[in-house]
Structure formats: structure tokens, C-alpha cells
């Protein structure tokens, strides 16, 4: 006989379809439940904070197997197989490509095990296709909108940012890896929001270049923009703070952020990682959008544990889940005024 990915390969689910009851009862108590966590890319700063938060909130009563999908969806699909074989009791997956959710669901569904997606959200349809699937995270497009709003706030707060006083703010975007949902959607949201804005001031995009999330490449890109646009640049937006670090460095090296009024720029980052805080505080950065990595990580592991131990999924979550069984951790705008918020959050994320 044949099987297809939608079918239930008999041996793949040798045990229970309701693991909760099992593990909470008799002799299995000696063995802690095992939760598999797949992070889409260990080299991604932001995910590092989620990782830390997951570990922090995991507690002593579960075993975590955390693995790196190395930004390769094919690899991640294999790791799901592997972890299911290994017999994990719940799986938390930070997808490489949200469109692959259905493939992952097809693998997990026959086992009936809890599946918590985090950081990258599958489509509503996919989410609803499996009862035991949940989500924790935010949506990159929303972050991009909020980032654009921060840009507008920044200009309002600093009229001098329009250096040539023409009523137009010339901005550049340093984009993450092209094709990556976080880069594409965030950038698109920036463009949409800023492009639509026309209240006394308008925004003009000078150029978008990619730096693949990396600060060394961002530095090179910024160098070339300094050579090309010079003080025409009035605002810089980056898709993440790794690239922000490189961009800031290039500007500093070229004598920006000093006394020369022409060599000033509004710089808005994304993630508010700890390295960004001092830069916000000393005024180099106007601000960053923070996705609450800690909350995201906490909700992920709390839901996973609840399901493992047969508790209601929302227990200890603090909020109710949304229509697609999703937990949304809000974006937070971090500027000089509220850097402490970010510090507090990351203190947890860094396990301090």
C-alpha cells in the first residue's frame, strides 16, 4: 500500500494521540516531556533573544531540544521528521518560510502532537487546518508600518531633519536578505506607509539596497550612499539592528553625527537589540521598533508546556488567543524616553 504526506503512517504515531493525559499520569513521570524547538537561523540576533526567553521560561520540568534550521526550509522539514522520530512531546517551529507551514503540519498532524509556530506566522488557512496548532509572534508588515510611523514622529520632532528645507525627507532603506519575508514585508510596509503620507511633509525614497542582515555589508552599502548622495540623505531605515550597526558605523567614520549640520541624519532601526540602546540614548539613533522577543518566547514555551501537561492552553498566558489560536506580542516603539523598557525586556532575554 502507499502512503502520502496527508495520511497517517501507522508507525509514526505509535503512542497516544493525546499525550497530555499520558504524561501527567503514571509511570512516565520519571521521564520529563521533551519539547523540540526549531529556530530558523541561529545567526539571527533577534532569534537569539527568543531562544533565550524560551530557555528562561522552560523551567525544570521539561527537556528542550533546540535546533538550528540554518535558514534552510528543506533542512527544517527534515529536522521535524527527526524530532518526531525522536519522540518529542511538542514541537515549536520558527518557520524559515511561512508558506511551508502546511508541509510541517502534514508531518505533525498524524501524531496529534502540539505544534506551536512562533515568530513567522502561517496563513489563517494553515493555522485552522490543525486543531493542535498555535502561534506566537507578530507580523513583520505591522512592524514595518510602525517603523514608518516612528519615522513620521521623528520628523515632526526634528524639523531640522529636512536639511534643505524642501518639505521632502529623502530616505534610504537597508534591507535584509532579499526574498526573506521579514525583509520584504517590512520594507514594503515602510514604502507603503511613507509613500502615502503627505501631511505637510512628504517622503522620498532615494534607494533601497540589501545587506543580507549583516553589518559588514551594511557598512559597505552606506559607504557607497555617502559617496553618491552625501548630505542629501536625511533619513535611514534598516530592517534590523545588525545592519543598523554597520550603517551607523559608516556614517560615523565619514564624520556624521558631529557638529556639521549637513552631516546629520535620522536613523531608525528595528529590534532595539541591546547594542542599539546606547546609540538611542546618545542620540545617534532616533529609535527602534522592538518586537517583544521575550513575550514571544515566553508565550511559545508556555503554550507548549500547557499542552504537554494537559492544561488549558491559555493558562498563564495573560491574554486570550486570537481567531487563529494566535498570541500576538505587540511591537513597541523604543526611543530615548523608554529605553528602559527595552533594557528590561532584554535582561530577561539574556537570562540576567
Amino acid at each position: 500500500s502507499t502512503y502520502s504526506p496527508n495520511d497517517n503512517p501507522s508507525s509514526a504515531a505509535p503512542e497516544q494521540s493525546a499525550p497530555a493525559e499520558d504524561s501527567s499520569t503514571d509511570d512516565q513521570t520519571a521521564e520529563k516531556p521533551v519539547i523540540g524547538v526549531l529556530v530558523f537561523d541561529y545567526s539571527n540576533n533577534y532569534c537569539t533573544y527568543i531562544r533565550n526567553a524560551i530557555n528562561y521560561y522552560a523551567g525544570e520540568d521539561v527537556e528542550i531540544i533546540m535546533q538550528d534550521s540554518q535558514n534552510d526550509q528543506a533542512k527544517q522539514a527534515e529536522q521535524v521528521d527527526t524530532l518526531l522520530q525522536r519522540g518529542v512531546d511538542a514541537l515549536c517551529v520558527n518557520l524559515v518560510e511561512p508558506e511551508s507551514a502546511s508541509t510541517i503540519i502534514e508531518k505533525v498532524k498524524p501524531t496529534g502532537k502540539p505544534l506551536i509556530f512562533f515568530n513567522k506566522c502561517p496563513s489563517d488557512e494553515d493555522m485552522l487546518s490543525y486543531d493542535n496548532a498555535y502561534y506566537s509572534g507578530c507580523s513583520p508588515y505591522d512592524g514595518g508600518v510602525m517603523q514608518a510611523e516612528m519615522c513620521i514622529d521623528a520628523v515632526k520632532a526634528n524639523p531640522a531633519a529636512d536639511k534643505n528645507g524642501d518639505g521632502v525627507i529623502n530616505y534610504v532603506i537597508i534591507k535584509g536578505e532579499p526574498g526573506h519575508p521579514d525583509a520584504e514585508l517590512c520594507t514594503q510596509a515602510n514604502l507603503d506607509t511613507l509613500g502615502a503620507y503627505s501631511d505637510g511633509i512628504t517622503f522620498k525614497n532615494l534607494d533601497i539596497q540589501t545587506a543580507n542582515w549583516r553589518s559588514d555589508q551594511a557598512k559597505d552599502v552606506m559607504d557607497a550612499w555617502i559617496g553618491r548622495f552625501g548630505s542629501e540623505i536625511e533619513m535611514v531605515i534598516t530592517n534590523n539592528d545588525g545592519m543598523m550597526l554597520g550603517g551607523v558605523e559608516a556614517l560615523k567614520a565619514a564624520g556624521w553625527f558631529g557638529d556639521d549640520p549637513q552631516k546629520q541624519v535620522l536613523f531608525i532601526g528595528h529590534d532595539a537589540i541591546p547594542e542599539a540602546i546606547p546609540l538611542i540614548e546618545d542620540g545617534t539613533l532616533y529609535g527602534c521598533i522592538l518586537q517583544d522577543a521575550v513575550n514571544e518566547g515566553r508565550a511559545t514555551i508556555v503554550m507548549a508546556k500547557n499542552l504537554c501537561f494537559g492544561r488549558p492552553v491559555e493558562e498563564d498566558l495573560g491574554v486570550e488567543l486570537g481567531a487563529i489560536k494566535d498570541f500576538r506580542s505587540p511591537f513597541i516603539k523604543i526611543t530615548k524616553e523608554n529605553t528602559q523598557t527595552a533594557v528590561d525586556i532584554y535582561n530577561v532575554a539574556l537570562g540576567n
Binding site: S1, T2, Y3, S4, P5, N6, P9, S10, S11, A12, Y42, I65, M66, Q67, D68, N71, D72, Q73, A74, K75, A77, E78, Q79, D81, T82, L83, Q85, R86, G87, E97, P98, E99, S100, A101, S102, T103, I104, E106, S123, E125, E177, P178, G179, H180, P181, E184, L185
Partner: protein, 346 residues
């Protein structure tokens, strides 16, 4: 004609002393040893299901590893492999989406038969590989750098297509029939025999036949061994090289299509970096980067070692950073042992 032989030569069969046997089959022992050690660490690994997963994961890799192996035996290399996989994957995914998928790219297109887009990807890949082959054979550009340039060019093309058809957003909603065709399998009793393993076996058999039973295969080894001598011996270097590149292209196209179906979606990062894994697997499996040397079982063993290590380390739950270390050390160990058979006793 008068025979000029006087003393007859006695034809012994290669009488393998034990140590020689061990040495020349080292790679298979290494494979077995790695498996054993892992099973000792966690006996749960020793199930037919695990083995079936490892095999099915190795299957797509075997397909493109066999493609690049031919190129390496010719004495060349190919850094464009990963992007070729990506191109095929993107192309096939964009053409094989479920009719009811809301974000279907070619929404008015009828459902295509599976073989059509796959064949298309294979032919496109073959065409690109032939161009690469021409640059190498005719303009004499070293393959390392020519294929690096092609890596970039193919990335450009596939990304532009990706951007054009789907605004650079991952392509999902792959045709269920396509996924079943690739991800499905037979159940023999309680054991899964994935279709992929069967496809890989068929491909392997065909390539084995080409390498060992056809003129093209013999010529491939000859060209890799000594291109000048091959030329003098009447081997048409360019033609044979192009054929081997063409075959590699077909295999990349096939492997890339499978890879997309296996993954369930495709973006322009699909396949990224696969070339290094594939080359490494070939080399660990005894294919010499100087050309002229390599066997099918060796390539299979090389790919299996890589897949076993990847699977095993995840299965054992090893910290990903430590996995880098362990993987590096295992490769080093495997190749060090395998290398000893070539080190001339002096």
C-alpha cells in the same frame, strides 16, 4: 601476425590482503562506525523508521551529488549547483500550485500534468549547464570561477523571476498530487519505503550504467585523468564534457523539483550552499578533485555519511554550535581515513 609474446603472464585476480581490503573500503566502515557510535549513545536511533527517514533525506542529495560527481571526475567543479536547485524549485513550484490556493500565481492556468514542469526545469537546467560547459571547454575559464559567476547569474535570474511572479514572497500551496508523488511512499508491513528512495535508486542505476557501461563514462574518466592524452586518443573533449554537464543539469532540475516538493514551498534561498555539501560528500566518498577517480558506491556512501551525521546529531539533540564542531571533526576523520588508500607507500 606473429606473436611477440614469449613468457606468458599469469593473471591473478586482485588478491586483497585484509588490510588492503579494509583500506580501500574504509569509507563504508566509517559510515557503519558513525552509525554504531550514535546508536550506542541513543539506541532509539536504531529503528527502521529512522533509517527510512535518513534514506529519504539522502535521496534528493544523491541525485544532485551524482550530477556534480561527474563534473568533478572530469576534473572540474561546480559552485552553481545550489542556485540551480533553487531555480528549478522556484520554477516548478510556480507552475504546480493547487488550483484552489488563494495566492496561485498563474491563476488562470489549468492544472499541468506533473511531468511537464519537472521536465521543463530539467531542460532549463541542462541548458544553463551546457552554457557553463561551453565557457569552460571553449573559453577555457577555470570551472571554479566560471561556476561561481554562474552561481551569481543564476541567482539573479531566479530572483528576478521570483520577484516578478510572486513579489519575492515564498511560493506555497504546492499541488497536493506533486507533494504526494515526492513525499509519499509504500508501506511494506509497518515499514515505510519512501518513493524518493525509489527515484534515487533509479537515477543511481542510470548513472551507474552511464559511468561504467558506456563510452561517455569511459571518456569521462579519461578526460579527468589526463585531458591531453584523451584528446590525442581521439576523445572529443568538448562533446563529452558538454554531455556530462547536460546530465548534471538534468539531475539538478530533477533534484530541485523534488526538493521544492519535499519542502512544501520555495523561495530564492532554496538550495543555498548545497554545492559545498554535495562536493564534500563526493570527496569524502573518494571522488578525487584532481579528476579521473570516483565511484558510484563511494558517492552514495559520502552522501549517506553527511545525512546520517545531520540526522543523528539532531536526533541526539546536540547543541547546534557543537554540531558544527562535531560535523567538522567527523568529515576530517572520514576523509583522513579514506585518503590513506591513495597515499603512496614509499
Amino acid at each position: 601476425m606473429k606473436s611477440i609474446s614469449t613468457t606468458a603472464v599469469s593473471w591473478k585476480k586482485q588478491s586483497g590482503s585484509v588490510s588492503k581490503f579494509l583500506l580501500s573500503n574504509a569509507i563504508y566502515f566509517v559510515l557503519a562506525a558513525i552509525f554504531l557510535v550514535m546508536v550506542m549513545i541513543n539506541p532509539g536511533l536504531l529503528t527502521l523508521d529512522n533509517i527510512s527517514f535518513i534514506l529519504s533525506q539522502a535521496s534528493t542529495r544523491v541525485i544532485f551529488a551524482l550530477g556534480i560527481a561527474g563534473i568533478i571526475i572530469l576534473g572540474h567543479t561546480d559552485l552553481s549547483l545550489g542556485r540551480m536547485i533553487g531555480l528549478s524549485g522556484i520554477l516548478v513550484s510556480s507552475l504546480l500550485q493547487n488550483l484552489d490556493y488563494p495566492r496561485r500565481i498563474f491563476s488562470s492556468m489549468p492544472r499541468l500534468p506533473l511531468w511537464l514542469p519537472i521536465l521543463g526545469a530539467m531542460l532549463l537546467s541542462a541548458l544553463i549547464m551546457i552554457l557553463l560547459g561551453l565557457v569552460i571547454a571553449k573559453i577555457k575559464v577555470p570551472s571554479f570561477i566560471a561556476s561561481l559567476a554562474f552561481q551569481l547569474i543564476v541567482m539573479g535570474i531566479l530572483s528576478l523571476y521570483f520577484d516578478y511572479v510572486n513579489d519575492s514572497s515564498p511560493i506555497g500551496g504546492l499541488d497536493d498530487g506533486f507533494k504526494a508523488f515526492v513525499q509519499g511512499g509504500f508501506m511494506i508491513g509497518s515499514v515505510r519505503l519512501p518513493f524518493l528512495v525509489i527515484y534515487a535508486a533509479i537515477v543511481t542505476a542510470i548513472i551507474w550504467f552511464i559511468w561504467n557501461k558506456t563510452k561517455l563514462g569511459k571518456n569521462m574518466y579519461a578526460i579527468g585523468g589526463n585531458p591531453e592524452a584523451a584528446n590525442v586518443s581521439g576523445v572529443k573533449i568538448t562533446k563529452n564534457l558538454l554531455l556530462i554537464f547536460l546530465i548534471a543539469g538534468l539531475l539538478y532540475g530533477l533534484g530541485g523539483s523534488f526538493e521544492a516538493a519535499r519542502t512544501g514551498s520555495a523561495s530564492n534561498s532554496l538550495g543555498y550552499g548545497y554545492e559545498l555539501d554535495a562536493i564534500a560528500a563526493c570527496v569524502v566518498g573518494g571522488v578525487s578533485m584532481r579528476g579521473g577517480v570516483g565511484t558510484i558506491p563511494g558517492v552514495l556512501a559520502g552522501v549517506l555519511i553527511f545525512q546520517l551525521v545531520s540526522y543523528g546529531l539532531v536526533f541526539l539533540g546536540v547543541n547546534p554550535y557543537i554540531q558544527y564542531l562535531v560535523k567538522g571533526l567527523i568529515i576530517l576523520l572520514a576523509i583522513s581515513i579514506d585518503t590513506q588508500k591513495y597515499v603512496k607507500r614509499r
